[in-house]
Every structure is written in C-alpha cells, then in structure tokens.
C-alpha cells in the first residue's frame, strides 16, 4: 500500500479549467472520500490520479515517486468503475484473473488469489458465471474483487454504489468499510452522497468547482465547517443558514425585533452582515426565553425523531430536529432556542468566523 501526494494539480480542456490547483496529501492506508455536487471535478481528479486523464499542470507522487507522466498501466493502481466495467464475455473468474495474467503470474498463484478474493466477497459459487447472470450487488463485488486480487498500491472507487438500490447501498457500504479494515489498503472513493462520505471516510475532501473547499475527518467537517458551502453540504438535514447582523462583539441579531444571540463574532465589526449556521438538532424547544418564534409549516414523524419545518418573518424555512415523537401540528407556534455552544458564524464572503479571526 502507498500514500499519495498531489501538488498544484490543474486540469483544463482547451480554455476551460476544471481542476484549479489541487494540493492534497493522502497517508498510507487512509480511506479518503472525494465528495461534492455534480460537476465539482471529483471524478476527473480520480481519473487524473488513475492516469486515465493527463494533468495540465502539477505533480502526482505515489510514495514520493513522481508518476505524473507515468501511464495508467504502470502506476500499480486499481479502479472500480461506476459502471463496474466488467468484461461481459468473461466469467467472474476470468474477470478477476485477467489483470493477474497480464502480470505474468503463475497459474497456481492466479488461482489462489482469485479464490481468496472470491471467498472474501462471497462470490465462490458464482465464479463460473458471466456478469450478465449476476445481480447488481454481485457485479459490484466482482468489480471490487478484480481490484483486490491485484494487491494494488491504491484502490480508486468511482461512485461504485450509485447503481444499487437504497437497501443494497447501505449493506454494501458496510461491507466496503469492513473490507478496508480487513485489507487495510489506501482507498480513494468518489461520491456525491455525503452520507456515504460521512459513514466511510477516515477523511473527507469536499470539492466545489474544481477546488478543495475543506479536508478533514467527518466530524471535523460536521462540527467545524470552514465555509458556508461545506456547512450546507455536510449533514442531513442540512444546517440552517440564517442572515444576521453583528450587534456588538459576541452578539448577533436575526432582525431588529429579535433578541441578540451569543456567538463568536471574531473580528467582525458591529453592523457587519453575516450568516448564522445552526444544525437542526442544535435547536431546542423553549418554554420561555426563546431566541425565535416559529410557525410550523410541516411536521415529519420518523418514529425515533421528529422534524419540524417552521417559518418566521424575513427568514428562510428552518428545520428543527427533536428526539422522539413530538406531538405538534401544522400551524402551531414553535418557540425555539439555539444552543450557544453549537452555533456557527460565517462572514459576508462565506468563511467561518473563528475566535480571534
């Protein structure tokens, strides 16, 4: 297994730049997830690492060795494609053995590796079948098996769960996490699904418009988003983002009529516009001393949790998450209080305001 370093990696198609100078260091054995909306460049970045796309500028190093101009076939990486890209005319066994034959391994060694991977992925009874005779989940496992047998330096996975139904996706997500724990390889996983990113990653790389917005552990990103984009992208339901004005150091106000709210304002001057971020679970129902009085627009009862979608004059719709089954109906008043320890403030440019900044 190996680590990976990207230095100032840029990619442009003619005059259109799609990756704008990405710097990233991935440690040996890490499970890294690239996440971002469609068109953010996450798949392109993965293909650049794979060697399937040439870089316009910058450097890629695997274990300190510059591989920027090394073709895909010589980088020693394995990739699981979104479409699985299984060879349709070959059996499961031959699909997995194909790369090993290219490596010139002995027949016995190939057989041992394929059988071991098939057993690990519960494919033993399907090895003689062709891909068209397999279910989506089984095909996906064959694609992973094809990568595993090669014992690659790094595994690259391009949205491998996107073709599976919701139930199978959750099951396979767990299997992948378990597989990573078992084989301990460096894995780079691309997804647009932040839940996949949060549940599987050691570290998440959030991308937008070909730029890295933030890199960190799932809880880092959840608890300390660097900017409005990450704050809104990570977490489900998404963070409530409310326009506020700084009243004085440490105090902001939602509107002229509302009570001031305590939050770190850093170097923001009084009167500055900002955005207050608060996650749905960090809004408490308040009998008295409420920060805000909402009117309930919609209630979603999930059994274990209840989501209230409420509105207040001049503010976007606010989501409130309550544990258990809260019995309130549409149109009722919902006085709420923000938990001061979990408030986020973002300046007019969208950057997070930290103490002393």
């Amino acid at each position: 297994m190996a680590g990976l370093t990207l230095k100032g990696v840029r990619k442009a198609y003619g005059t259109i730049a799609v990756i704008h100078g990405v710097d990233l260091a991935i440690a040996d054995g890490e499970f890294i997830v690239f996440v971002g909306p469609s068109g953010c460049g996450k798949s392109t970045l993965l293909r650049i690492i794979a060697g399937l796309e040439e870089v316009t500028d910058g450097e890629i190093a695997i274990d300190g060795l510059d591989v920027t101009r090394v073709p895909a076939s010589d980088r020693g990486l394995a990739m699981v494609f979104q479409s699985y890209a299984l060879y349709p005319h070959m059996s499961v066994y031959k699909n997995m053995a194909f790369a090993l034959e290219n490596m010139g391994l002995a027949r016995s060694e190939i057989d041992a590796r394929v059988r071991r991977a098939a057993a690990m992925l519960r494919l033993t009874e399907y090895v003689e079948r062709k891909p068209k005779a397999l279910s989506g989940g089984q095909r996906q496992r064959v694609a992973i098996g094809r990568a595993i047998v090669r014992d690659p330096k790094i595994f690259l996975l391009d949205e491998p769960l996107s073709n599976l139904d919701a139930e199978l996706r959750v099951a396979t997500r767990k299997e992948l996490a378990a597989l990573h724990a078992e084989i301990g390889g460096t894995m780079i996983y691309v997804t647009h699904d932040q839940v996949e990113a949060m549940t599987m990653a050691d570290r998440i790389v959030v991308l937008r418009g070909g730029r890295i917005e933030q890199v960190g552990t799932p809880l880092d990103l959840y608890n300390r988003p660097d900017n409005l984009f990450v704050a809104g992208f990570i977490g489900s339901p998404r963070m409530n983002l409310l326009p506020v004005q700084v009243v004085s150091p440490g105090l902001v106000r939602l509107s002229e009529a509302s009570e001031p709210i305590k939050v770190t304002t850093g170097s923001l001057a009084a009167g500055a516009s900002a955005t207050l971020g608060v996650r749905p679970e960090h809004i408490a129902l308040a009998a008295e001393g409420a920060d805000l009085a909402l009117t309930i627009d919609l209630v979603e009862q999930l059994g274990g949790d209840t989501y209230f979608y409420g509105s207040a004059p001049g503010l976007p719709q606010i989501t409130v998450r309550q544990n258990g089954q809260a019995l309130r109906g549409r149109g009722e008043a919902l006085p709420v209080r923000f938990e001061p320890a979990h408030l986020h403030l973002f300046d007019a440019e969208g950057a997070a305001v930290r103490p002393g900044r």
Binding site: G51, A72, S73, D74, M79, F81, Y87, N102, M103
Partner: protein, 345 residues
C-alpha cells in the same frame, strides 16, 4: 364579443410557409384515408381475430415477394427437371433428374476437366478460390480500416465517407472504371511505363485476372463491411478499455481478448455476408474480365447466365439445375449465418 375591425382583410393574415401547408395537406389526406379504412379494418379484425390481422398486414409484401422470388424459384425448379430449347414449360419434355446427373457427372470433382460439364465445375472451382481470397481480404481490410477509423485521427469523418463512397457506385461502373485503369493502355500501365517499367497484360495472365477480380470486389464493397464493424467497435463501452488500461493490458492483448470477442457478432455477419456475396459474384467480374482469360475467372453465376441466355444452344434446363444447386448452397450459408448470429448474440 365585438366584431373584428372591418379594416382587416382575410389576405392580411400571416402567410403559412409552403412546407407547413404541404404537411397540413398531407396530414389531412392521411387522416381521410385512415378514416376510410378504419371501419372495414375493424370489421375484418372482428371477423378473423387480432392475431390473424398480422397476416393481413404482411400480405401486400408477401404478394410481391412471391411474384418475384417464390414463383421464379418454382419455375426454376420445374425447368431443372425438363429438357429441350423452348422457353414455354408446356413445350419442354420432362427429363427427371437428368440435368442434375449430367451436371454431377464427374470423374473427380477436384478435376473439372474430368466432368462432362467442365465449365460449371471450373466455375465452382473459380468461385471457391475467388470467395476464399475475397473473404479473407475483405474481413482483414474491413477490420483494419474500421479499427483505424475508430481512432481519434484527423479527418476521420472524411475518411469514413471516402471508404464508403464505392459502395454507392453501380458494380458495372466500378468494373468499367477499373477496366480502364488496368487494360493494356490503361492508367496503371501508363504509370508503369512512365517509371521505366514494362506493361503488364493484367487480363491475359490468369493469376493477375483473379487478383484484380478479388481486389476490385474488395475495393467496391469493403466500405459496407467497414461500416458494420465500425458500428460494432463503437458499441464496445469505453470504460472496458479503461479497465484494461488499469489492468496493465498490452495493446495486442486488448485486441485479442477484448475487442475481438466483443466484435465477434458483427464479424460473423461480415463473414457470412461476404461469403454469400462471393458465391453470388457475377457483374463486376463479368464486366472486368468477361470470365477470362479462357475460363480463369469464370464464376458459377456467369456459367448459369451464359448457359441459359448467351450461348448458341440455350440450355435452360441445365442452367436451372445449376442455379438450384447454387441456391441450395446459399440457403445453407444463410442458415449458418442465422444460427451463428443467434448464438453469438
């Protein structure tokens, strides 16, 4: 509601473009026609049932097909069991399988000279040789051309058109063009003499005559087969090649293990179609070499044509028997194509 202002005349309405008017007229005519046939068709369907209606719709085509294929085939079969020179079946005596016996009367099938109808067997031998060379060259050149035209090369669209262009030409035109190039004082010999070489009598030497017959046939038809193979190549998902790249697959192995197996259904179509076309070859070779020198490029179909229509004694019965034999061979080849295509897909 108020009336329209009196100043607006009907001709002041925006002019409807000609195409739109034509389309509207067409739609109206079609609508009228459909309304006319709607009631009788519904009545018919009620009478014969929904399933049998399929045959009603097949009927018009079946009538034409019968008239121009099945009926001539039946007449041909009848003629093959008759003798004489008359064209009218009523005046032709029944001879049983004599024509077939005469056709197959050979000392050795490998030696046409030992056969009573030696020209037929020379035609068979020539057609086999022609078909074999033509098939191998056609598949090889079409495949290579399709592979090249599938690459990202400059002017790809232009080259695709260039290779397909000869397919649009009439076989007679193709043969005449090449005849002008290859004849004694043709373009090729002019070129040869210009660079100091000697004239080659391409249509006098049996080897050259067969070579150019195959060459012209391949040149004229490979565009069609290239198109079939190109469609097959483009249907292979690009991510399979990327997966092969990630698997560190050498290029030759990508071709043998990925491209060729996935192209196999298209290749089978090309092989069988080229085979059938090879066996049926007539017009190009006939115009180009006239079957010569001697009988060096005489093909089966040319033999049938000459026996029935171009010889002093018009032997329709023998020609019919020969064409039935050819028909059986083509039928078997077509069956093979259908079965191979089914198993390949």
């Amino acid at each position: 509601m108020t009336d329209l202002p009196t100043g607006i005349e009907p001709q002041a309405a925006p002019t409807v473009p000609l195409l739109a008017r034509l389309r509207r007229a067409g739609e109206t005519a079609l609508g009228t026609l459909l309304r006319l046939v709607d009631r009788p068709m519904r009545l018919l369907q009620r009478l014969i049932g929904e399933r049998r209606m399929a045959y009603v719709f097949l009927l018009p085509n079946l009538v034409f097909f019968s008239l121009f294929v099945f009926v001539p085939l039946a007449i041909d079969l009848v003629f093959s069991f008759t003798g004489g020179e008359s064209l009218f079946p009523s005046q032709r005596p029944y001879v049983g399988t004599d024509q077939y016996a005469y056709l197959f009367d050979c000392g050795s099938f490998l030696d046409p000279a030992s056969c009573r109808v030696d020209h037929f067997w020379r035609g068979v031998a020539n057609t086999l040789r022609f078909t074999m060379f033509q098939l191998v060259s056609m598949v090889a050149f079409s495949l290579v051309t399709a592979l090249v035209l599938n690459m990202r090369i400059r002017g790809r669209g232009f080259f695709r058109a260039v290779y397909f262009f000869p397919v649009l030409l009439s076989p007679v035109v193709v043969a005449l063009v090449w005849k002008w190039i290859l004849q004694r004082d043709g373009l090729l010999n002019a070129g040869l003499t210009t660079i100091g070489g000697q004239k080659i009598l391409f249509f006098v030497d049996p080897g050259w005559a067969m070579f150019w017959s195959v060459f012209v046939s391949v040149w004229a038809h490979m565009g069609f087969y290239t198109l079939i193979l190109l469609a097959g190549l483009q249907a292979i998902p690009a991510d399979l090649y990327e997966a092969a790249q990630m698997d560190a697959t050498p290029r030759w192995r990508v071709f043998w293990r990925i491209t060729l197996p996935l192209l196999w259904p298209n290749l089978i179509v090309v092989i069988v179609l080229a085979l059938i076309r090879g066996v049926q070859t007539f017009d190009e070779v006939f115009v180009l070499t006239g079957g010569g020198p001697g009988t060096a490029t005489l093909m089966i179909v040319q033999y049938i044509y000459e026996t029935a229509f171009a010889s002093q004694v018009q032997n329709f019965g023998l020609a019919a028997a020969a064409s039935i034999v050819l028909g059986v061979v083509l039928f078997l080849l077509t069956l093979a194509q259908l079965s191979r295509t089914r198993s390949a897909s």
